[in-house]
């Protein structure tokens, strides 16, 4: 499997995600935002960070980069796209995913480990979570509050397009387990064709038992060797 990680000015999780991809034997290339064409890729990753300093609206300026047209083309052709944190914000600004990411409810940056319920394992990113659907991953963001109006929420729920929701140790999805106020505790969503996943938590930071978690590994393993 071949992947491309897009590097924008201000991206800072590009190295982390490249380390994860390489660890799980996915052949990876780093692609500068100013290129017009993607190298041959099965998976395109938009990494976390503060592309363009999060200025104007987070992800807004990156969504106008030269490379984005090719990323959109790749997505429309059914190619896999994974947007993590800032990457998720960029996917929304390009229109590849719906909704909007607002400021965290408590108006503060939040860096902590949270629990997620994996709700849709019927896609290339989450298939290996079939046997473990309450997982722990870290979040680190100031604008992770996913907002969708009632119509969109119904659409996402009815069509099973929500990949992850924030939950507690028992898998209960409620206000107390929601770190940023997102609608319906949503932490990650898929497009209708399920080839594009946007998520706020950082799977690439939990690929090592020493760092107290391998729940991120499962996502990368799903991509390469679905069980």
């Amino acid at each position: 499997m071949k992947s491309s990680v897009i590097v924008f000015p201000g991206s800072n999780c590009d190295r982390d995600v490249a380390v994860a991809l390489t660890k799980f034997q996915i052949e990876n290339q780093m692609v500068w935002h100013n290129e017009t064409q993607l190298p041959k890729s099965d998976l395109v990753v938009l990494p976390g960070g503060f592309s363009y300093g999060d200025y104007l609206r987070t992800g807004s300026i990156a969504s106008k980069s030269r490379i984005i047209n090719d990323v959109i083309r790749h997505g429309k052709k059914g190619g896999l796209i994974l947007g993590i944190c800032n990457g998720f914000q960029i996917l929304i600004e390009t229109g590849l995913l719906p909704g909007v990411l607002l400021r965290n409810k408590k108006l503060r940056f939040l860096s902590k480990n949270i629990l997620l319920k994996v709700l849709n394992t019927n896609n290339k990113f989450c298939s290996n979570y079939k046997n473990k659907n309450i997982i722990q991953l870290p979040i680190a963001h100031n604008e992770g509050n996913f907002f969708a109006n009632n119509e969109l929420l119904k659409n996402l729920e009815d069509n099973n397009l929500i990949a992850f929701k924030y939950c507690d140790e028992r898998g209960k999805i409620e206000k107390n387990s929601n770190p940023n106020g997102s609608s319906n505790n949503i932490a990650g969503i898929l497009n209708p064709e399920k080839n594009i996943l946007g998520m706020m938590p950082h799977p690439e930071r939990f690929i090592d038992p020493l760092l107290s978690g391998e729940d991120g590994s499962i996502l990368f393993k799903s991509l390469l060797r679905p069980e």
Binding site: Y52, G53, Y55, L56, I61, K64
Partner: protein, 79 residues
Amino acid sequence: MKISATVTLKKDVLDPQGKVVGQTLKNMGYENIINIRQGKYFEIELNESDEIKAKKIVEEICKKLLSNIVIEDYKINYK
């Protein structure tokens, strides 16, 4: 009564956001945009019919809260 106020960075203060937005517009083909500075716009509705009193209140809240007088200026838009 509705009064609006605009808060902008002081003239000599660095505006990192405006800088990047301006550069992006140039990259999008808008060659004749020389400079952009980003600010905030507040719409204030008051329960005060006396215009002079209302203006005084808005002045005060601009100074005390809406603008950071160390690095920002405010302008009250009187209709």
